[in-house]
Amino acid sequence: MESFWDALRSLHDAYGINLVQFYDDFERSRLLRGMWTTVKLSIICILLSVAIGIVGAWLQGSRYRVLKAIVQGYIQFFRNTPPLVQMYFFYFALGPQMPRVVNEYGIAQPMLGSFEWAVISLSFFAGAFNVEIFRSGIEAVQRSTVEAAESLCLNRLQTYWYVVLPLAVRFCLPALNNNLVNLAKTTTQAYAIAVPETLFVASQIWSDHINVLEMMITLLTFYLLLVGVIVWLMTRLERWLAIPGFGR
């Protein structure tokens, strides 16, 4: 490995291509930690937003119009306002209102840090879209299948969980795929509230070493890979869930 790093170092000396983010141990570990934060952020937000989508779609099918309207209000609010402003609102406006806890150094700090607020903000943002996506998947389930479940005495919750949801998920996987990829890309906005994710760390590195172009290329490659992995995983999921009799 050392010789590989030395080769990169010599690239810098010979051609001015500065790949310090790779050959320097400190910078490399910084960058890797930033990438791991992005991956963590993406995974947690994906899981939470899917959960919000499932619950929201369930509430939207409820008989109480007030409940339906609240869910619609939530969706319209988060879909028609900028995600960045939402994040600022959560972190800068709601954050200070939270109670303070004393950390191990004896300093009072807000209960939820920037990472947690980024998770909350992005999950609610993506969750709003997911509710719509799951709703359309649910509506694609044939009425007679639902009626058959009801005739077999399954109650509403059992019908939703055992019959409707498994089918709805399969129907809406392509749209969900798209939304989750967008979520992974939107995690870069956490830069604005100083979450040490990839873009933030990269900006620190290029400020220190003035190798903007190299960092940009590294960044773009990383995100392309991340998106590629998510798409690949979702395609595998689609294939694993496929049942005979639907699609090709």
């Binding site: 879909r79 600022y88 406006a93």
Partner: protein, 279 residues
């Protein structure tokens, strides 16, 4: 979705009105909560929250006097980026269906690249790596920050527009191409006179959808130093130094965007329904 079948999405049904009511209630709640907080932590400030909001609104909407900034800058950037992105995306989309394999592959690669890159990264890319002036001939044209940011935002729009164009062209039945061919139209003629005019209607709803997404991405330019509504909000809050103004000011910004984007979203649904019936 919302509204009964066959009803124009632009006319609010009782259901729409109720959910809209909840959104407005949410904003009112934010205001009320801030008032409550203000009561609890009176810092001896002279103005109430509503007065402060009214005081700052002109700045947030129009920017500093004599300068181009604020919410109108966000809107202007969205228009310009959409225009550039649409034009470039049209070209890129046609490239994707080109008969020449290298052109096709290049266009596909460019589209995938810009589609799958985070918008903020592209913004940084353009901001940091484009020069401050453009030298054409002997003339040096300065490139202001907001213009560079606009270019940055137009790149993902270009890629998504290309996908919309490609999808729309592919949704026109092959029989259209065949009949045009049998009438001795060239490929270019077929494309411009027969295929694309039919595509326009089915491209409009996703196009408007991307416009809404773009508008809601414009606050990103505040991160790269442009004086848009977001930056000015933060400046205003820094000037006031009052914690009870945090929620209302950010809330006000959310309201601006909501008032602009919600009607666009409803209109998009209306257009989608209107154009969906004809195939």
């Amino acid at each position: 979705m919302l509204g009964a079948e066959g009803e124009s999405g632009f006319t609010a049904t009782a259901f729409n009105r109720r959910s809209l009511g909840f959104v407005l209630a949410a904003f009112a709640l934010i205001l009320a909560a801030s008032e409550a907080v203000a009561q609890i932590r009176t810092t001896g400030g002279s103005e109430g929250i509503i007065e402060a909001l009214i005081k700052w609104t002109p700045l947030l909407l129009l920017g500093p006097p004599g300068e181009f900034g604020g919410f109108v800058l966000n809107i202007a950037v969205s228009f310009l980026a959409m225009a550039i992105g649409t034009a470039a995306g049209l070209v890129l989309g046609l490239g994707q269906i080109s008969l020449y394999a290298p052109v096709r592959k290049m266009s596909w690669a460019v589209t995938q690249f810009f589609r799958n890159s985070p918008w903020l990264v592209l913004l940084f890319f353009v901001m940091l790596l484009t020069p401050f002036h453009l030298r054409i001939g002997g003339v040096s044209i300065p490139l202001p920050d907001w213009l560079k940011a606009t270019f940055g935002l137009s790149l993902p729009i270009m890629a998504n527009m290309a996908e919309i164009v490609r999808g729309a062209v592919n949704s026109i039945p092959t029989s259209q191409w065949e009949s045009a061919e049998s009438l001795a139209f060239t490929r270019m003629q077929t494309l411009w006179r027969i295929i694309l005019p039919q595509c326009v209607k089915r491209m409009i709803p996703p196009w408007m959808n991307w416009y809404a997404i773009l508008t809601m991405a414009t606050p990103l330019i505040s991160i790269v130093g442009v004086n848009d509504a977001m930056t000015l909000t933060q400046d205003a809050l820094a000037a006031e130094q009052k914690t009870e103004l945090l929620m209302p000011m950010y809330g006000l910004l959310l309201v601006f965007f909501f008032i602009y984007c919600y009607p666009i979203a409803r209109w998009t649904i209306y257009l989608e329904r209107k154009y969906a019936v004809r195939i």
